[in-house]
Symmetry: D2
């Protein structure tokens, strides 16, 4: 995601920084470059540098210059070398066990308020690992924030395989969560007048409906279309998350129609359809601003275009087909009405409804066979509604990740749309079905409560009818 381009940029800017700081760092880092794989001899040099940064010799300004040198060194390493670098940070600059124990002992017996508070502060200080300070020092550099975001992306990958990295990853996450507080983010509208370098990134980062070329991107920024992204002031050229919106007459039910080029504005547009939301920075996983983004855009559009009074999504159902395969394999009981069953028999030799369904949705191009598609519509919709509204994780959240995202933002389930995404991916992942989630401004807080509290899933009567 954050490819060579940005790394080259980082290297360039570090060099500039080093130029700037050059006269300030006495005892500058050895000039000999590190070997890219960070063999033991070089690992020692890195270790010493880290220690020097933390001890702050020569003052905080010098420490930051040293951190720059370290950062440059890190950028020059191979993936293996970087893993070694991070392992040193993760294991050798952790909290001091003795100090923590000393501060913790007897804390519960302290009775005077002032004394207890002082001890709590001591303990909190002891629990803060030194490496956190080093991570912070990188921020004095140009692109230091991007550097840390990319470092966390690397750590997330490493931590998934080796627990030793988990704590360092968590430290970095807490630091970034602080810095990427939504109050610091800047909402920008993306238009065809946005710098090409940023539009290029959106094309690359789009995760829902792939953008094939610049013409398609232009069309997504054209008549009756809107695009908004969050940016951080210290990463002004890097979108964090973006949403694509279509202004339509009524709630849209067909994403291919939405994506095709238009010539003229829709006179009767009264609805904003959020048809794609993509996160851009893997290193910010788990630091959520999607909910804020949607609401900021709702506010902005309401204020700007008075006639728009409905806000809904046209969303993929990424987990449906996978769930369906498992479900059908377990040969469930009653799936459909007698009439539906008869209709199905015309297409399928199998006795069993479930088997029959499983066979038919494997048939290539089934959705272009009108009669077959018509026959499949009702049973698939009913199964999908069940999947969306009834299937949950242990924690009580909806199994489908997109459903969970919108429900926890306070949306409700509005309408399930048949053959709404007939792209190969749409057919493969959700049998062509798509969902409209509705953001009804007055109900958002209540919906959120119902969902996160009681675990109830707000839905339109139309959708609920599918569940009976």
């Amino acid at each position: 995601m954050n490819g060579t381009g940005s790394e080259n940029l980082l290297q360039r800017t570090f060099q500039r920084v080093l130029g700037q700081w050059r006269d300030i760092t006495s005892g500058a880092p050895d000039d000999a470059p590190l070997a890219p794989g960070l063999p033991d001899r070089d690992a020692d040099r890195v270790r010493r540098q880290m220690r020097a940064c933390l001890e702050g010799h020569g003052g905080e300004v010098s420490a930051r210059a040293r951190a720059a040198a370290l950062g440059r060194a890190y950028m020059s390493l191979t993936a293996e070398g970087r893993a070694r670098f991070l392992r040193i940070l993760a294991t050798e600059f952790d909290t001091d066990r003795q100090a923590v124990a000393a501060a913790a002992i007897g804390l519960d017996e302290l009775d005077d308020w002032g004394g207890r508070k002082r001890r709590e502060r001591q303990l909190r200080a002891a629990l803060e690992p030194p490496r956190l300070r080093l991570l912070t020092q990188f921020n004095a550099l140009p692109d230091g924030v991007k550097f840390l975001v990319d470092m966390r992306a690397t750590l997330l990958a490493l931590a998934s395989e080796d627990e030793a990295f988990a704590d360092l990853e968590a430290d970095l996450k807490s630091l970034l969560a602080n810095w990427f507080d939504v109050g610091f983010l800047e909402l920008r509208q993306i238009t065809w007048d946005t710098p090409a370098a940023i539009i290029e990134k959106l094309i690359e980062y789009e995760a829902v409906h792939e953008i094939s070329d610049w013409d398609e991107m232009k069309s997504r920024l054209g008549v009756d279309r809107r695009c908004y992204a969050y940016f951080h002031p210290r990463m002004p050229d890097e979108p964090l998350i973006f949403v694509e919106v279509a202004l339509t007459a009524g709630i849209a039910d067909d994403v291919q129609a939405l994506l095709s080029p238009r010539e003229e504005a829709e006179a009767a547009a009264d609805t904003a359809i959020f048809y794609s939301i993509s996160n851009c920075q893997r290193g910010l996983d788990g630091i959520g601003f999607g909910g804020f983004l949607i609401k900021r855009v709702v506010d902005q559009l309401s204020a700007e275009i008075r006639r728009i009074d409905t806000f809904a999504t046209l969303s993929p159902i990424p987990g449906f087909r996978k769930w369906l395969d498992g479900y059908l394999a377990e040969a469930p009981g009653e799936l459909m009405t007698r009439g539906e069953r008869r209709a199905l028999a015309a297409f399928c030799g199998a006795d069993d409804d479930a088997e029959c369904l499983a066979v038919l949705i494997e048939r290539p191009g089934w959705h272009r066979d009108d009669a077959l598609a018509k026959t499949l519509a009702a049973p698939l919709a009913r199964l999908c509604a069940h999947y969306l509204a009834r299937e949950k994780r242990d924690t009580g959240r909806a199994l489908d990740p997109v459903a969970h995202f919108h429900l926890s933002n306070g949306a409700r389930m509005e309408r399930l749309n048949w053959l709404a995404d007939t792209s190969p991916r749409g057919i493969a992942r959700s049998c062509g079905l798509m969902m409209n989630y509705l953001y009804e401004v007055d109900d958002i807080a209540g919906n959120h409560e119902s969902y996160t509290g009681a675990g109830e899933i707000p839905a339109s009567s139309r959708f609920r009818a599918l569940l009976r």
Copy 2:
């Protein structure tokens, strides 16, 4: 410092925010405004709101809207009401004693690494007081950062009289230290083309050499003068700290000459004199960026004007006269040479040197009496040098705060200047003496080490001669 103007702005912007969020907050805050003194009945409403924000009913977006309502309520209170508001926050939303104790018990006996790490994380979480989250929620508001900076200014005043506020103040400081990391700050040159609203603030905030009117300010931004300030991206109209610089031929020794208007650029300018550094936000006390500011400006000026190769200050010695009075009162022994003593006798009836000095520097206008001034020059300079270089606090840092600031930034003591500031304030605080601290780029890190480590004070041979 942060007067009515900015409060009005805050109130305006909160109203705007509430407007924006209005449809999102269901169960919006009661509309009846709080009584300004926050009597008990209203304190209960505030308490409930705080709890609601922390419990996050209706989702994080709603919580932030509630925080906005709380913030608006706070702004409408009197000083007394605000103190009550903050006391609730300080005492009722602190860490949970039981939870802390539970997490701490037995920590030192945990032997497996993974288990200990998990417990440390638990403990860290327990030590984080809930109010910290509430403080963070204010950041989603326009001017939320300024709101918190001003709140800390209020807390600093309260905490100096009542320990109950100290922990809340410390929480807020840690939050702000994180957000005001120097890497986030933006250096801007201030010129006559800077918005009037910002220039007005500099006039107000100038703490070293008062600016009497706009003409004087214009002259300080004119020929051979520079001014730089740090800003935070979320407080773009509020300078945090600024420095005023004069480009001179050689190291300047007279601040009145420096402040008088000039017509033409100095052809032979080879030196940048930092003659005034002022902090603007009381709420950021103790979060130091002065050292970074000086070095950034040194970098910038070096790059921009090749012929400038000397960087020094012309600094006040704010504590000299106060120290001197105490020193003289203790009737010290040898103060001066026989020649000096004889010269002094011509002006003073007293037998005792110290008494004599004490009397003479009380004489109004002594510095305009050439013969007297000449007689006082040597003894006062010697005493002042002693004060600057020898008088220290228990911690080992220099007693004079300006000296401590520059020494810990890596400067050295360069030259003491006689009758360098003959303004009433200059005479009253330092008998007209001023110091040049020199920033020699190659020595900065070493000087810093000498001072912060061994407690040695780097000085020019000329200055050292005064100490013999």
Copy 3:
């Protein structure tokens, strides 16, 4: 108006230009500076340079570099030297009499359309004086436009005394009229966030109600006040004309009240009062954009603040007192009713109404004597209404210049206000009277027609009552 500051700037920028072009101009201008008074010997050098620019040796780029050198030379001259420089331009680079005559002869006898058109083009070319091309060449310089505007200010002064400069002035006017077409101008709102350098100029240029200091200026940009100025893209730091507006409840009738500081916004504001319009550039005299400015501001305010639906001025009547003195001296007949006459007799020994009036309005502080002021109100208002609506120049336009400006913009006479400007200047120039001109959007075109066509003066019935 365009003082030393801008000239210094010009000299600086010319030097920069010359630096830029230095390598391009072969045969660069002699380095020896011209003598400031431009004696004959140096005048010859100037003449040669002008010729070289016009002949375009070395190409158009070189010609422009030469024009820069000439411009720099001009800036270095004294007023006398500049007059000589301009005289050379005015008299030696005029149209070629022979060429004009040759092209004109027989033109009326040409019968074929094509031939006549060709001849017309020849004639037009012959009528274009060479110096016009030289004036244009200055535009390639930074601040070239400002240079020409200032040059025209100088020419206007010279031309008023010596007809020889009139044609050059007219050439320059036509060039500037072309470049300052209103379509090129940029409307900017001036606020307290506008650069200090521009606000300083507004303080200086304000021609109607003097601004005494920065605090007063801040108040004029504060609550319920607006200020707009036109700028040219090539003079971005120089306002061309600006208007000050107050948002009031109803049409204001007292300018002192308008100018005094306010604390809070007026909840019932429904009217925009244009209380000051000032031209800033003498060199643009006669190139009118005042009418456009008013209408642009009306548009902008209408769009921005829905509740504002009345647009009027509170204007000085600069010529009233001067006219009144003449009028009274000619001892006119009936001036007032018997009742008024009796009331007046209480204050004045004179027999004659006119004489009595003339005496009384000379009495210092008459407007603070309530009884006297009340007595004078009706007769002065009647005379002033007569002056405004009946006294005209030969051309039919209103004698009062402010009245003429607003009437030709399509406003109507709305209301005459007694003791509306009691500043010394207001009393001296218009006996404290001020006018409201009303811009009724639907009537603007019609009012303009009535005034510029039939010479009729649109007025409210209230105002017309004064004329009976």
Copy 4:
């Protein structure tokens, strides 16, 4: 060139304008839209509107609103309708023959200076056709300047077939020449951070070496490449002309190598190669700023990158092949040396050198046949050098338009490059040959003089050797 996109924009903006002005124009234009072909009945309405604009009923502001309505009407017409509209303007709003004659008669007999000047001014006024004022009025509109530039593009096409449009086209050209004076133009560097909308236009407008897609464009803005364009402040989204530059080690001789993507910066780059210059606005034909653009870019690059000290082009020779065909057809005498002739005989049956050449360069892919290409190199180079340096128009200017452009800008002929452009177009138009023109800063003015004065063509000795 200026397609539907911009027309739609114009229509939108006119509507906005009409909205803005709506309240000001009383007696607004009929609401019924014109028929697109402008039949006689509608032509009458247009005629009346034009007259109303010129007579200025309702004031200048109203006139401009009317001009906006007229402009909108024009935009709604078909090509045929527009031609009718323009014909009305061209033939019915021309100068008044009688007035011109009256002012011209007896002019040559006027002896007093003042009288003659007055008469000249009268005559000049009479020679200014009324339609010029109408054209100017369009400038008060958003995009009015672009409107006029596009109108001139239309007029140039019409005038090439019907002389009746020529004068209107010339009027418009003089107006635009005034407004597009180079002093008003803004040089912008185009980078990958430039808005996509502008980069898209460059891709479209590139006239020399076609840009196939966005990747190629990105590469032309990448490492060691530069791009600069001129813009007008009133057409900020429309490039007027742009130049593409490559930074190379030595003078480049192969445009395909230049256009292929690069990974890394060239360490030894000392030369800036201007390899493509494209005009973007047909409506500005004949208003030259190419020479200024080159010199501004030379200045900018010299200042920015010290090591660059050579400035040259790698230019097409668009007219060579066409000229060559004619030349060879006339069977010229001696073309080549005996050795060359013999070498050629190996490939060609023809007796005649010229015929032989003519045949061989028709052979598809001849340039990929090494032996053949080697044989053709010397004779073709010699012929091309002759074409470039010896073939001239009657006016004395070089026959090849690119050669003329650079020579009149002061460049010299530096080097002819064999097989420097092997694209189909390069082979077809210039047998693969390309020229380097060298801009030697010190010689530019002298070269210009030699070329435009004596008609001499400056050339390197190497190039001159080809001419012997």
